[in-house]
Amino acid sequence: MLSYSRRFLAAAALAVLTLPVAACTSDKPAPSASGAPAGAPAGSAAPADKGTGEQSKFFVQADYDAQMAMRKAQPTGPSDKPWEQTIDPQLVDTAEYKKAGPYHLCFSNAAVDNPWRQVGWKTMQAEVALHKEITKFTALDAEGKDDKQISDIAELTGKGCDALIVSPNTTATLTPAVSGACPKVPVIVFDRGVQTDCPVTFIKPIGGYAFGAAAAEFLVDKVPAGGKILALRILPGVDVLETRWSAAKVAFDKSDLQVVGVEFTDGDAAKTKSVVSDYIQRYGKIDGVWMDAGATAVAAVEAFEDAGQPVPPINGEDQQDFLKKWSDAKLTAIAPTYPTYQWRTPVIAALKVLKGEQVPKVWNLPQPAITQENLATYLKPGMPPLHYALCGCEDLPGYPEKWGGTS
């Protein structure tokens, strides 16, 4: 009995091995001109033990330094339209892509499975609607599946798009698909990058290091020396989140604060609240909370309230529920952002490319942090609790109803 099954396994294996030889057509492009793999991780010798653990293998010193510099740099472009601003641009010529309208834009979206992407996606659709010269906009949602996004990109390149916008689900795994699309259509990548420089432009806010550093520096500033810090992270292994933590680690290692715990919350509010409650119980008092994303910040704040303790300095993100809590409970807080207005930029960039205008090779968008001073401007009553304040969508048609708010 076993021998038969083994025979079939062998047959299957043979099929696997021989088929590629017989293949005669390939949808996969020639090897991309230059793979731009992540630079070697800079070994950072941890000074004293601050409870922050090993530095992430995602940490790249050069990128870190670049982002730290960008935080201080002055963006160029209209200051009331941060999504059109850019920091330190190195412009590239796009004349080769110039063509007359009307245009058919295509978009391969990684997913719309969280509020950040929801807000961004609505913003992008509204941006598209602003431009009469875009007569057709085809978007495919990969539902968080790398494999589907690879197929989606392949499908879109065959649909006669004039430009292809890609928001990759993961960096490494989408690289072959994007480099496959580049020769056929101008590609614009945003949010996460890919490991090839074939896209015409790559749009991103300053980045994760800037986010993590902003929050950590705030805590270093506000929490008295020796204070106990609890760091809450969503998941390990997600590049954009790893960079946030690794920058925070650098800041904490240099400080005189003690990080008593680094916990993963899966982005689950109940789990966040439980973790924070456990720490309050165990240490009696926590002097500061650092978070790599704001989605569960309110739950963390509530854990202190429920324990009958004052809320220590904390960071969140630009979601309305946190901003409201901040304002109502008069927190000592900061909200670094990863602005959703970046979803407007790819459309603008695509049109620039198609009109032959220059665009930055890497389009760094400013990445403001919400502080006590400007909190009021970002607090928008009537918007849903999980709405992101930095959507840059207030001037778009359909606001606020389209984003779930009431005027």
Binding site: N114, G267, D268, S277, Q281, P385, L386, G404
Partner: protein
């Protein structure tokens, strides 16, 4: 009861192990906090028990919890007056979802694994279609109190859990409980003895839906609106019930043991956390323990085929 004993021993062992690391654990405030945290899962396990003992599965409770919280947030929208009507509506919605699961399973004869898998997809899709992708609105303070606040030193959720547990035990001892177990053991024999099999099974699904609604009230109250509040709860609830020695396939096990299974699972999470088992290894340890617990149960109580000589 014989069959249910091991889980109580395991639970007691785990609680002692926690107390060794954290001596405060068995003092009232810390212990009540533990019970409060466990309450939603225990309630879900109680609901799931009724479905499993009747011979079915309910995979839809996780997405039902999410849907309930999202619906509540949108309808309440922070208004105190809306709280109580919306609470009533949530309960009704849970019952209706259970009713649909039950009717599709019993009258249309779709295996419940598939019925409730379909319901899982439908609920998670439909609720976000309705809210446009992510939760809207906000829960009111009154609503939040049920999951967050307490009556004197005792959290509301602990009180609610006590009521649910009492009701669940009562239901299994009542006629309904006996006929449900009968339907789970041998539905043809039950039907030929006058049991309305389709009806009791449907009621079991409705109880499961109701428990999901109550769990949603507690979870939403505890931690606020979230799009993933119910994620994975269906598997946890089924695991808890099975851990309690309730046989998948129906006909055997007690609701008290199922609830003890949920407490055990929660205690296990707490213990792993306390012993600093890294976040990464946690699922692995959990997986091994669940298999081991069920395997031990199976070894001790072999699924003897009808041994009667003929």
């Amino acid at each position: 009861m014989r069959r249910a004993l091991p889980i109580f021993v395991v639970l007691a062992g785990l609680l002692v192990a926690i107390a060794v690391v954290n001596p405060y654990f068995l003092e009232p405030p810390a212990f009540l906090a533990f019970v409060k945290r466990a309450a939603p899962l225990v309630i879900l396990a109680a609901g799931q028990y009724f479905v499993i003992v009747s011979g079915e599965f309910d995979l839809s409770v996780g997405s039902l919890v999410t849907a309930e919280v999202v619906i509540a947030a949108r309808l309440i929208d922070g208004s105190a007056e809306a709280t109580w009507p919306v609470l009533a509506l949530m309960i009704a919605f849970g019952l209706i979802v259970g009713l649909v699961n039950g009717v599709v399973t019993t009258l249309l004869r779709v295996p419940s694994f598939i019925t409730t898998l379909g319901m899982l997809l439908i609920l998670s899709g439909a609720v976000f279609l309705w809210t446009g992708g992510s939760p809207r609105g906000a829960l009111s303070e009154q609503f939040r109190q049920l999951g967050r606040g307490s009556l004197g030193p005792v959290p509301w959720s602990v009180l609610i859990l006590a009521v649910v547990a009492a009701a669940a035990v009562w239901a299994t001892r009542a006629r309904f409980g006996h006929t449900l177990v009968a339907a789970g053991d041998n539905d043809r024999a039950a039907a030929l003895s006058g049991v309305r099999v389709a009806r009791v099974r449907t009621v079991a699904f409705m109880i499961s839906g109701l428990s999901a609604a109550v769990a949603a009230i507690l979870l939403g109250g505890f931690a606020g609106v979230s799009a993933q509040v119910g994620k994975g709860l269906e598997f946890q609830a089924i695991t808890a019930v099975v851990l309690g020695g309730v046989a998948l396939g129906g006909g055997r096990g007690s609701v008290a043991a199922a609830m003890a299974g949920a407490f055990t699972l929660e205690a296990l999470f707490t213990l792993l956390n306390l012993y600093g088992i890294s976040g990464a290894l946690e699922p692995a340890v959990q997986g091994v323990i669940i298999i081991a617990a069920v395997a031990l149960g199976a070894v001790r109580f072999p699924r003897a085929r009808a041994a009667a000589a003929s």
